[in-house]
């Protein structure tokens, strides 16, 4: 028995027990320590709000980043899940917190989409601190599909409307389908499923002509020859799918994916913002963080506060255009 194992085991037991027994992980007292000045930030624990339930991709990325940031900041980062209403519950909650750096959040790609979907949310409402990951989208078809390249698929879809599954209405993978149709003139009928896995299952079961999803949902079935991946919507090939050409390589210039970053209520003190930005950047360079992100089929893509802010705003504009609003 190696000591680290025993330690993590004890941690696991202790934390899981406390969660199961009293479930108080989420109860935070949000009274800011009035006396602490911004120069000795952080002087107490930081709460990181996640818009999804525990166990999903957003949660996993957030927890990995939080544990990489803790030694850098020297304080604990408490991950708090506030799922619901397409993530808007968490985003509105973050907006309402004091801008003191003790409440930050995981900003998923939806933060740029919700504004076009009747929510009062925009990236410009927040201080965007840095992008931490990107999960590029792919298009897959059944193994015995007549289409072998993105071009063949697009050409066929110009004459007959083809069906494409995605992870849900208003999801980033529905946007991927809209983008492809918008850029090529292909007629693609969006069939929203309840999550990425059922969407890919629909391709495996040949219920639909194609599916838009993330890399992880297709990787193993691609290796086992159960489906074909026509293209990846990213600037370069994915290390996990080296044989899958990018859409750009095939003459369709689309990049789309589910990204994530860290944000905070607007108006952080400059000193605090700088500390957080630096800690986020350093955390994304840690191996422990990189391992979690890459092994779940995503890429570690870092953008600093300014770049991320511009990027999120550009994305919001692009989605608004696609959704015709």
């Amino acid at each position: 028995m190696k000591p680290p194992q025993i330690l993590s085991l004890a941690l696991a037991a202790g934390c899981a027990l406390s969660v199961a027994a009293c479930s108080s992980a989420g109860i935070n007292t949000k009274t800011p320590a009035a006396s602490s000045s911004e120069s000795d930030y952080p002087s107490k624990d930081i709460t990181l709000i996640v818009q999804a339930a525990a166990g999903g991709g957003s949660d996993l990325s957030s927890r990995a980043l939080a544990s990489a940031m803790e030694p850098i900041l020297g304080k604990s980062i408490i991950v708090e899940n506030r799922p619901g209403a397409s993530g808007s519950t968490a985003m509105l909650h973050v907006k309402d917190q004091p801008a003191d750096g003790y409440t930050i959040g995981f900003a998923p790609v939806e933060i740029s989409m919700l504004g076009s979907l009747n929510y009062d949310i925009a990236p410009s409402d927040y201080d965007m601190l840095g992008q931490i990951m990107l999960g590029p989208g792919v298009i897959s078809v059944p193994a015995d599909s007549p289409y072998n390249t993105l071009k063949e698929f697009v050409e066929a879809a110009k004459t007959t409307e083809l069906t494409a599954a995605n992870s849900g209405s208003g999801s980033i993978w529905e946007m991927a389908g809209l983008s492809l149709a918008d850029a090529t003139g292909a007629k693609i009928k969006s069939v929203p499923f309840d999550g990425g896995a059922p969407a890919v299952a629909a391709v495996l079961g040949k219920q639909v002509d194609a599916a838009f999803s993330g890399v992880n949902e297709v990787k193993q079935n691609l290796e086992d020859g159960k489906l074909k991946v026509l293209a990846i919507f990213h600037s370069e090939r994915h290390p996990e799918l080296p044989d899958v050409p990018t859409a750009t390589e095939q003459g369709v210039n689309i990049e789309i994916g589910g990204w994530g970053g860290i944000y905070a209520p607007k108006g952080l003190p400059a000193e605090v913002k700088k500390t957080l930005e630096k800690a986020i950047k350093e955390a994304t360079e840690q191996d422990s963080y990189k391992n979690v992100i890459t092994s779940s089929g995503n890429l570690v893509v870092y953008r600093n506060s300014k770049e991320f802010s511009t990027f999120a705003n550009d994305e919001a504009e692009r989605f608004a255009q696609l959704l015709g609003k």
């Binding site: 999903g56 079961g205 219920q207 979690v292």
Partner: protein
């Protein structure tokens, strides 16, 4: 053979065994505690097991998965409050049995049924994983709609008192299910301009409200100091031989059904339990006892919901598609351990498959023993003064519900459903069909509309699985009426 030795030797190391024991204990706690779902517990444990070896992590996560199946039956039977959604159907006959003074017997039978269910489904996983998983892929939107329609006919048999009231309850559930975003267009429906309701009404809040809170409120309002306490811990706790014979048939049928339902990605233990209960009633010689404390009913629900475990694992491991919400979380951590579930897993990592099967079997065995041993102690709980029990249930319900979203509005929803449940109970409307309608209504709608997007409606009858299921649905609707006519006809002769 090497794979078996490798797998088992990784599992029988001190740390892995310790993980297993911790998982077992956690699972039992999580199950008993209403509101904390198994997927939530597994998700939170995952953030710590990621740093462990796969065998150690799997030992802990799967032990939680299995032992929670035993824990969640306890509050269903003793307090009419499902510990997790999978134990909703357990309340139908489990609680009436406890009321009759058979709490001990109900707990033992439930544990036995759960064990048989898991073991049956593990046989499916061990021997037929590949063909069955491939079969599950045939369940597209057309087939799913037909299956869900069939599931909705359960409302008829679940309405033991009055069919009209049962159908009303079912429609109420379906209506509640419509709140939120339209599954295809994403437009908000019945959200009254609020953000909170766009994710729909909260399932955990509904079941805890309708069952737990309603029960407590009802007991408080009807409590008379001089009246003797209705539920007592008296009674046998071990079934007789004739009872064992009586439940053998529903056990086998529900177990097989549950395993099949578990294989289908969108359906889990909650739906399986209700359908299993319904099928057990259909083949029973004493259907009139169902809902009033029938051991066959209890066996029907618990075997079916437990046997979704092996089914869900089958889909997860051999297709790489999560078979239920717990498996969705588990796939995440398996991938980080470098184990990619999918069609070739059985050839690529047989040692992992061995570990999974071994943990499932060991956890089942250990949970059964623990459950049977502590049955007596558990029933003592009922000897506590009712005021104390009410307080405990209310605290548990509120804390449990809050923990699902960290949002006080979810707790308010639960309390509203508690009051609504009380109102429904007073006018004789059963809560079971409300839950069923809420679960199945949205599934029926989204699959129907997906099907209409994909192909012409004629495919409902040209696809064989869909056709068979729709015929079963119609038969399920019409048959009770025909049967009644025939009976009257015979009586008249």
């Amino acid at each position: 053979m090497n794979a078996i030795i490798d797998g088992l030797s990784a599992l029988f190391e001190p740390i892995a065994l310790l993980c297993f024991v911790i998982g077992l204990g956690l699972g039992l706690l999580v199950g008993i505690f209403p509101g904390i779902t198994i997927s939530m517990a597994v998700a939170l444990a995952t953030s710590f097991t990621l740093t462990l070896e796969p065998a150690q992590g799997l030992a802990m996560l799967l032990a939680i998965y299995v032992s929670a199946q035993y824990g969640d039956r306890i509050p269903s039977i003793l307090l009419n409050t499902p510990g997790t959604p999978a134990a909703v159907a357990t309340t139908l006959d489990g609680y009436p049995m406890a009321k009759k003074g058979q709490a001990g017997l109900a707990l033992s039978i439930s544990a036995i049924a759960t064990t048989v269910g898991i073991l049956m489904s593990m046989i499916v996983l061990m021997f037929f994983a590949q063909p069955i998983a491939q079969f599950a892929l045939n369940f597209g939107p057309f087939e799913m709609f037909a299956l869900v329609s069939f599931g909705l006919t359960v409302i008829i048999s679940i309405s033991t008192q009055s069919l009209a009231k049962g159908i009303f309850a079912g429609l109420l559930g379906i209506t509640f299910g419509m709140v939120g975003l339209d599954p295809i267009t994403g437009d908000p429906r019945f959200v009254f301009g609020t953000n909170e309701l766009t994710s729909g009404l909260h399932f955990i809040a509904i079941i805890i409200g309708l069952f737990g809170i309603t029960e407590v409120l009802d007991q408080i309002l009807t409590y008379r100091r001089d009246k003797t306490h209705v539920i007592t811990s008296l009674g046998r706790w071990w079934p007789t031989k004739s009872e064992m014979r009586q439940v053998a048939k529903p056990m086998a049928l529900s177990g097989a059904l549950g395993a099949l339902i578990g294989v289908i990605p969108a359906a889990g233990g909650d739906i399986a339990g209700l359908i299993g209960w319904n099928r057990a009633k259909a083949i029973s010689k004493k259907p009139e006892e169902f809902g009033k404390g029938s051991i066959e009913g209890l066996v029907g629900s618990d075997t079916a919901s437990a046997s979704t475990l092996g089914g869900a694992l089958t889909t997860t491991l051999s297709l790489g598609i999560p078979g239920d919400s717990v498996m969705a979380v588990m796939i995440g951590s398996m991938i980080i351990w470098g184990i990619q579930p999918g069609p070739s897993l059985f050839e690529r990592r047989p040692d992992i498959v061995v570990i999974i099967i071994a943990v499932m079997l060991l956890a089942t065995l250990a949970s059964t023993i623990i459950s049977l041993v502590r049955t007596r102690a558990m029933t003592r709980l009922l000897d506590l003064p009712p005021q104390l029990i009410w307080g405990i249930i209310i605290v548990f319900c509120i804390v449990g519900t809050y923990s699902t979203t960290n949002n006080i509005l979810t707790v308010i929803q639960m309390l509203v459903f508690g009051l609504l449940g009380l109102l429904l109970r007073r006018i004789g409307v059963p809560a079971g069909p409300v839950v069923l309608g809420f679960l199945l209504g949205p599934l029926a709608e989204s699959n129907l509309r997906r099907a209409m997007l994909i192909g012409p409606p004629t495919e409902f009858i040209t696809r064989p699985i869909s056709l068979i299921l729709l015929i079963c649905t119609v038969a399920g609707l019409v048959w009770p009426t025909i049967a009644r006519q025939l009976k009257q006809h015979k009586a008249a002769l």
